[in-house]
C-alpha cells in the first residue's frame, strides 16, 4: 500500500428499516489500486459500495452507524456537498444505463450540469473521455447517434467514459460485467487495469476469477460480515478463514 488511505471504513453497521445488512465492517481502501468486494449474492456488497458515494441516501429507510472517512474527512458530515462528492467519486452500475440521448450528450452531461457551455471544450473532454474509456475508435464517426444503439459492452464502456468526464478520483464499479459476454468482460477488465494507474478503484463482484484477474486487494464479505481483507494474491493462495476457502473453491455462492 502506498500513499494515504482513501476510504477508512470503521465499525460500519447499515440497516434497511429494522433489518441489519452490514455488521461492524472495518476496511481501508488504498489509493491507485483495485480493491475487490467479493461475496455471495445478498451479502451486502452493493450496500457497502453504495455507502462510498452516498447513493444509499436515496433509500428512504436506510440508516448507518460507524464512520466512513474519505481523504481525512467524515463522508457523512453535514458540511459535505453530496453532488460535489459524487463528482469526485464516480460510479458504474451493474446494468449499463446510458441516457436515451446521443453518445456525445451522454459524456457531456456531467459537465453541462456544472454549467459548461463551451462547445470546443466539451468536444475535447468527450474525445479524451472516450479514449480513456477505450471506446473512441469504435464511435468517433457517430457521436451524434443514440447511445442506445450501442452493444451492451460498448454501453458499459460509455458509462465508464461518462464517469471519467467529470474528472473523478475514485471510481466505484458494482458488478460492471454481470450483464456482459466474456469478450466484452475481458475488454472492461483490461480497461480497469489501465485505469488504476490514475484512479482509486473499488469493484464489486461475485466472480472469484474476476477478482483474481483485476484486483490488488480483496475483501470477502459473507452475510454482512467482513470475513477477510488481504492482498489478492495472498487471499487466493492462503485464505485464513475456512469460509473464504469454501467460497474460493466454489463450495457455495
Amino acid at each position: 500500500m502506498s500513499g494515504e488511505t482513501v476510504f477508512k471504513i470503521q465499525n460500519l453497521n447499515t440497516f434497511y428499516g429494522a433489518k441489519q445488512i452490514l455488521k461492524k465492517v472495518n476496511l481501508d481502501i488504498p489509493p491507485k489500486a483495485v480493491t475487490a468486494l467479493m461475496g455471495p449474492s445478498g451479502c451486502g456488497k452493493s450496500t457497502l459500495i453504495r455507502c462510498l458515494n452516498r447513493m444509499n441516501d436515496l433509500v428512504l429507510n436506510f440508516r448507518y452507524e460507524g464512520d466512513i472517512i474519505y481523504k481525512g474527512t467524515d463522508l457523512y458530515a453535514s458540511s459535505v456537498d453530496v453532488t460535489e462528492l459524487r463528482r469526485e467519486i464516480g460510479m458504474v452500475f451493474q446494468k449499463p444505463n446510458p441516457f436515451p440521448k446521443s453518445i456525445f450528450e451522454n459524456i457531456a452531461y456531467g459537465l453541462r450540469i456544472q454549467g459548461v457551455k463551451d462547445r470546443d471544450y466539451l468536444s475535447g473532454v468527450v474525445e479524451e473521455s472516450l479514449k480513456r474509456g477505450a471506446l473512441w475508435e469504435e464511435v468517433k464517426e457517430r457521436l451524434n447517434d443514440s447511445a442506445l444503439a450501442l452493444s451492451g459492452g460498448q454501453q458499459q464502456r460509455l458509462c465508464i467514459a461518462r464517469a471519467l468526464a467529470v474528472k473523478p478520483e475514485v471510481i466505484l464499479f458494482d458488478e460492471p460485467c454481470s450483464a456482459l459476454d466474456p469478450m466484452a468482460t475481458a475488454k472492461i477488465e483490461e480497461l480497469i487495469l489501465e485505469l488504476k494507474k490514475n484512479y482509486t478503484i473499488a469493484i464489486v463482484t461475485h466472480n472469484t476469477a474476476q477478482a483474481a484477474r483485476v484486483s490488488d486487494f480483496t475483501a470477502f464479505l459473507y452475510m454482512g460480515d467482513l470475513i477477510e481483507f488481504e492482498p489478492t494474491g495472498k487471499m487466493f493462495t492462503a485464505p485464513k478463514d475456512s469460509r473464504t476457502e469454501a467460497y474460493l473453491t466454489g463450495k457455495f455462492g
Binding site: N53, M55, L58, L60, T83, E84, L85, R86, R87, G90, M91, F93, K95, N97, P98, F99, P100, Y109, G110, R112, I113, Q114, L148, C159, R162, A163, V166
Partner: protein, 300 residues
Amino acid sequence: MTRNQWSKFSDRVFQAVGLFTTFFGLAVLAVLLYDVFTDGFSRLNWQFIMSYPSRKPEQAGILAAWGGTIWIMVTTALFAIPIGIGSGIYLEEYARKNRLTNFIEINIANLAGVPSVIYGLLGLAIFARAMKLDRGVITGGMTLGLLVLPVIILSTREALRAVPSSIREASLALGATKWQTVRYQVLPAALANIMTGIILAMSRAIGETAPLIAIGALTYIPFLPTSPVSVSKSAPFVNFTLQGFLDPFTVLPIQIFNWVSRPQKGFLVNAAAGIIVLLLITLFMNAIAIYLRHKNQKRW
C-alpha cells in the same frame, strides 16, 4: 361427453360469445356513424363552417362554436397543463410518503371519477360568482381545466414512474442535483407519455357539455371572442388584448345539443354535420396520442 370434450365445447362457446359481444359493440357504433354521416355529410361545406348560428337552418353554421371550442381548449391547456405537470412531478419525485400525501393521492384519484356536471357547479360558484369572472371563456376554460387536472396529474405520475430508476441513478452519480435529474433526464424521457395523457384528457374535455351548461354558457352566440391580436391603421398598429377571455362563448357540443333540441328537420341535419366535425377533431387528437405512444414504445 368426456371431460376433455366438455372443456373443448365450453371453449368454443366462450369464443362465440366473446365474438358476438365484440361485434355487437362494433355494430352499434357502425350504425351510429352511418346514421350521422348520411344525415350530416351533405351539409358539410365551407358556408357551414364559416357561418354564425341563424334562425334559418340552411344559413346557420358552426363558426362561433368551433372558434369557442378552440378558445376554451387553449384556456384549459394554459390552466391545467402547468399545474398538472407540476403537481405530478412534486407528488412523484419530491413528496415524502406520509399520511398527508397519501390522502392527497387518494383524493386526486377520486376526483378523476367525479361526474363532470359537479365541476360545472364548482366553476359556477368559484370562478363565475366568487371571483366575479362571469360566464366568459376564462370561467369555462378553468372549469374544464379542473375537470382534466386529476387526469393530467395521474398520467404525469405514471409517465414519470415508467422512467427506469437506473436513469436517475446515472444522473445523480454524476453529481447532478435532484432537480437537474428531473429536469434534464426524467422529464424529457417521460414527455411523450405525459403528452399522450394530456391529449387524451383534452380530447375528452372537448366533448364536455354539462359543466359548461352548468356555468351558464350561452347557446346562441353570433360572434367570436375578441381576438387577442388586432391590426389597426394608426399607431401602435398591432394591438393586444385579453378581453377575449372575458367574452361569452359557446362550444361545439353545446351548439349540437341546441340544434338537436329544435323541431325543424334542417337543424337535425346541422347537428349531424356538427357531430362529424367534433368526431373528426377527437379522432385527430387521439391519432396524435396513439402516434406519440407508439413512437415512445421503442425506448428501453
